[in-house]
Amino acid sequence: MLRLPWFDYRAPRSVAEAAKILAGEGPRAMLIAGGTDLLPNMKRRHQSPQVLVSLRQIEELRKLNGVFGSGLTLNQISDSPNTPTALRQAAVQVATPHLRNMGTLGGNLCLDTRCTYYNQTYEWRKAIDFCLKKDGETCWVATASKRCVAVSSTDTAPALIALDAAVTLVSTSGEREVKVEDLYKNDGIDYLSRRPDEILTEVRVPAGWKSTYWKLRRRGSFDFPILGVAAALRFSGEIVEEARIALGAAASRPFLVEKAGEFLKGKRLGDEVIAQAAELVANRAKPMDNTDMDLYWRKAVADDLAGYALRELRGDDLRETRLRIARQAL
């Protein structure tokens, strides 16, 4: 049986107390919320924190009044009537129902980047002499690369980027608000602009967007995204007033495709407009060969997925397509 290494365990009752512990322990400590990302990684010796600072006892992280507390489970997010569509659709497609009872919104946003050369046991990684992201020197995905290209695999982040959401980060030196799109860096190792001593406490989502999230993965459950397209639009009648389209699982960070948003502004969502916007989105998808499924295929279908998102927001009935792709109605 795979087992965890030894660790010390702290369970603060407030964010302030947690921040204090984190500041005091420094890099020895890591935060744990749902544990669904960290514990498998610890079992495979990706991370070996000597101290785990649990956020589970902190009630203030489970706010659900105007903001989404980072400690809410993904099922609590998707069950809430106030959750915007894209966020709900993203949350409800993470992993499996049981993992969504455990995994939190904050955890999904801070999800470690993933790679087929990294998410393996210690013994497996030893057989390839490790990789750039952990214990090694070579990026086996792109051997000439000096940068780790592990892929951002969060579903909720692209949804929240499209929704123009922001997160609050708290540390002993104060708190700051960061746009979700600015929370990430395109580096598989140093992928968060959150400092290690900061705690992501809550997410603020502005209202008024019509939004959707399309996730591509092999199976109807368990699998991380191999591509995620989130789109949020504001309409004035049939005219697009504002558009935000974000991509997930297409780089080491989720990101906004500004060009597509600008292109759609002031336009009616005709078939030709949708095709052109989808093309602009797909052009930005630069998948690497480090997830499930064929790399070229993932690139080739990016415009289809973007097209589904825009057609759905236009009001087309895409339920059958959704059922075939997601294997469930959303």
Partner: protein
């Protein structure tokens, strides 16, 4: 950190124990309490065999720290039967072929129990969604869905 004290409720009974703090709930149940009905197939959250109910909600015991279960209530397959009588889910799983080798069975039954408590009359699709976190390599799931449908009907009849 060596041995840690823990008090929790397992299948309605209060249990108190000292255990090595690195152990997950899965290891606590199987190795400290001898409740081997909860199985394991990967210990990484990738199969669902170790599903138990924690405060009523299905979770993967391989990814729950034993330490996080202080004061909480755990239900496992061992606590499901009603004395000598099988719970309707248990009876249906064995009568409708929902269990072949039986290894994924405890986890699926616990997931199904949580579903039926939330939704007494699920559709086949809702059943599949609720058990989508439990891999089964034997049945092809069809008979699992039928078993849960049958148990749901029996439980509804009991509730009347």
């Amino acid at each position: 950190m060596k041995s840690v004290h823990l008090r929790l409720t397992v299948n309605g009974e209060e249990r108190e124990l000292l255990f090595h703090g690195y152990k997950t709930l899965l290891e606590v149940l199987r190795e400290e309490l001898g409740l081997t009905g909860t199985k394991h197939g990967c210990e990484l959250g990738e199969c669902g065999a170790c599903t138990v109910l924690l405060d009523g909600a299905p979770v993967l015991s391989c990814l729950v720290l034993g330490l996080e279960c202080e004061g909480r209530s755990v239900q496992t397959i061992e606590g499901l039967a009603r004395g000598p009588e099988l719970h309707p889910l248990q009876a249906a799983f064995t009568d409708f072929g929902g269990s072949q080798c039986g290894y994924c069975t405890p986890g699926v039954i616990m997931a199904a129990k949580a579903l039926l408590e939330r939704n007494p009359q699920p559709t086949a699709q809702e059943i599949k969604e609720a058990t989508a976190g439990n891999l089964c390599r034997c049945t092809g799931y069809n008979q699992i869905v039928e078993a849960i449908e049958d148990a749901a009907a029996k439980l509804r009849a009991e509730a009347k």
